[in-house]
Homo-oligomer: 338 residues x 2
DNA sequence: GCTCTGATCCGAAACGTTTCGGATTTTCCG
DNA sequence: CGGAAAATCCGAAACGTTTCGGATCAGAGC
């Protein structure tokens, strides 16, 4: 059968206890003994049974990623995040468990589910800002890291970029190119990042001495189609616009498509800036100027904070704002001088 | 603390054994007793501890996805597959574990690692065809499903599309549009799909009465950059080409870029067909005609076969060839009549 | 010589579940 | 009514690990 501590004990002539302590680096075992045991363990290809380990220590070396929005699986957002979490998890010898849920239960149920699946903590992605569960979550004694939803507690934190800053960087960039009438295609209001990016848009406009008119803002839903609709609507009612900032690359791609459909040349007639820096930025023509957020690092940092919490009950989790950087490409250019 | 079988037993007045059997639907427990116990369990919010369950039953309700090629995390390939696996896993009340490994060990080591992490079986993605581990894998008594690498055994199978057919569909499409000189930008030879698609290219040419010249084939590496190089090289040495088939969408995007750089109009001067049907097909201009393979279903089917193997030691795993379908878009058109 | 200390090892209990084998009670049938 | 069969329940062992509380022994200090 499989090789267990008992097998190693029998072969090496020591007791199960000693073998365990030797392999775990405890101090009360002779150095020669330890070496002999390690030797035998290696020969026998011994791996500790994580399940048994977990059962007794109750320290679950497992973290989970709870994804509430299945749509995100269609873009590379989630894949890069998973990639980052995985690297961090293997570095700490943790396992990474994945799951989704359609309908949400109470915070307590969610945590019960996690606990009994053996999770030590969870990263939750795709929560809506109006989720009632959110308020309860902060009080729970279960390590949690949220993605792009603000929450701070003794056992909970979140990671995001400074979306206000990111959006204002986009506006700074456009204003620097001479644009004064800048439209904004936002994501849906249930996402926290939408609120933040909207504020960033406003602040950016003001900082550059421009007046953000309410009519310059269109609320989309992060889909490409909504980007198209946004561009159409904004330009129909405000033909004076010379630039559009979209709160996601996908929507920006829709904007580009629609503008070209309307016979406008980007960036000669009108500039476009997106948000995220997904691969599609370089596939689209013209290539898309955007605000980059590094999703791989999102995953790493989230996993890092989570693991720190799991390993140390007293660890005070830190909120991390990752940097957002402007990536200039071909879709933005100087304002056309009439 | 946490509520266990013992808690329920004490509260309900029955023994741990009976509670366990009641909750698991065994027949030797009175229907009234069962109801009473279920009632108590519900009141107490009892969830069985999966870890303890796993330890004793040894039936691990956990499957894993082993990803060997980190690059795939950059495209949506893997995300969709994960999504499909997840749905199938939750449907069967299985957990989904994720991990990668940089360097490969022996098949035995790999399986040991999996087993001791509590995995009941694994989906392996990104294996190279020349991987020495591959030969050993077929003999192992560990449920395995490979993605896009052929392997059949009592405890192993693979899922893929019929890549020969897929590629020949692309050629049929182009030949049907009147093209006779069709170039081929392939992926690297270490991928099984490359060999298959190459054969499909040849077969497609022959079926349509065309002679596949060796010089019409360029070996890339699935990257966009290699698609650009491929287009450049092929057209420099064979300017008579009126169509190019690329073995992935990403390479096709590179081909498109290069062609436009060379002043050629797609599809007026030259047609392009890709493979995969990733989202970028619709972001690129002109939108990309391609051979669609449904990665979400890849994941579902892979998980399905795997779970069947885990649940039933006698289950004979089936190889599944998913359908490939041509998705005509704007990048392919009739051959230009001179 | 006697206790004390430190080094080294081990037995047994515990984690929460399933299951084997048996115990007890009830029902059924000739 | 006797006994077999069925229904219902339970004790104890097992899964593989960690850890608590010793046990043993050598050497040190007096």
């Amino acid at each position: 059968m499989s090789v267990t501590l008992k097998t190693v004990a029998k072969k090496s002539g020591y007791s199960v206890t000693t073998v365990s302590r030797a392999l775990n680096g405890h101090s009360d075992v002779n150095v020669e003994t330890r070496q002999k045991i390690e030797q035998v363990a290696r020969e026998l290809h011994y791996y500790p049974n994580r399940v048994a380990q977990q059962l007794v220590t109750k320290k679950a070396n497992v973290i989970g990623l709870y994804s509430l929005d299945r749509e995100t699986f269609k873009n590379q957002f989630i894949a890069l995040m998973i990639s980052g979490m995985m690297d961090e998890a293997t570095r700490h010898d943790f396992n990474l468990l994945l799951f989704t849920t359609q309908r949400l239960q109470t915070a307590q149920d969610l945590i019960n589910q996690c606990t009994h699946r053996g999770l030590g903590g969870a990263v939750i992605s795709g929560l809506r800002i109006d989720e009632p569960l959110l308020d309860d979550l902060v009080g729970m004694d279960f390590p949690t890291v949220l993605i792009d939803v603000p929450l701070q507690g003794p056992r909970a934190t979140y990671v995001s970029v400074d979306n206000v800053l990111g959006a204002s960087q986009a506006i700074d960039h456009l204003a620097g190119l001479g644009h004064r009438q800048i439209g904004f295609v936002n994501g849906h209001g249930a996402a926290w990042v939408s609120q933040e990016r909207h504020e960033g848009y406003q602040r950016g406009m003001q900082q550059n001495g421009l007046s953000p008119q309410p009519g310059y803002v269109f609320e989309g839903d992060f889909s490409k189609e909504s980007g198209r609709r946004g561009a159409e609507r904004l330009l129909k009612s405000h033909p004076e616009l010379t630039a559009i900032f979209a709160a996601s690359d996908l929507m920006a791609a829709g904007v580009l498509e629609q503008l070209q459909l309307m016979g406008l040349d980007v960036p000669r007639d009108i500039s476009v800036v997106g948000f995220d820096d997904q691969d599609l930025c370089t596939h689209v023509t013209p290539s898309l100027t955007t605000i980059r957020q590094d999703m791989y690092t999102f995953g790493r940092v989230a996993a890092q904070e989570l693991i720190a919490m799991v390993n140390d009950a007293d660890y005070m989790p830190q909120h991390v704002d990752l940097p957002s950087v402007l990536v200039p490409r071909a879709s933005s250019g100087p304002r056309r001088t009439v």
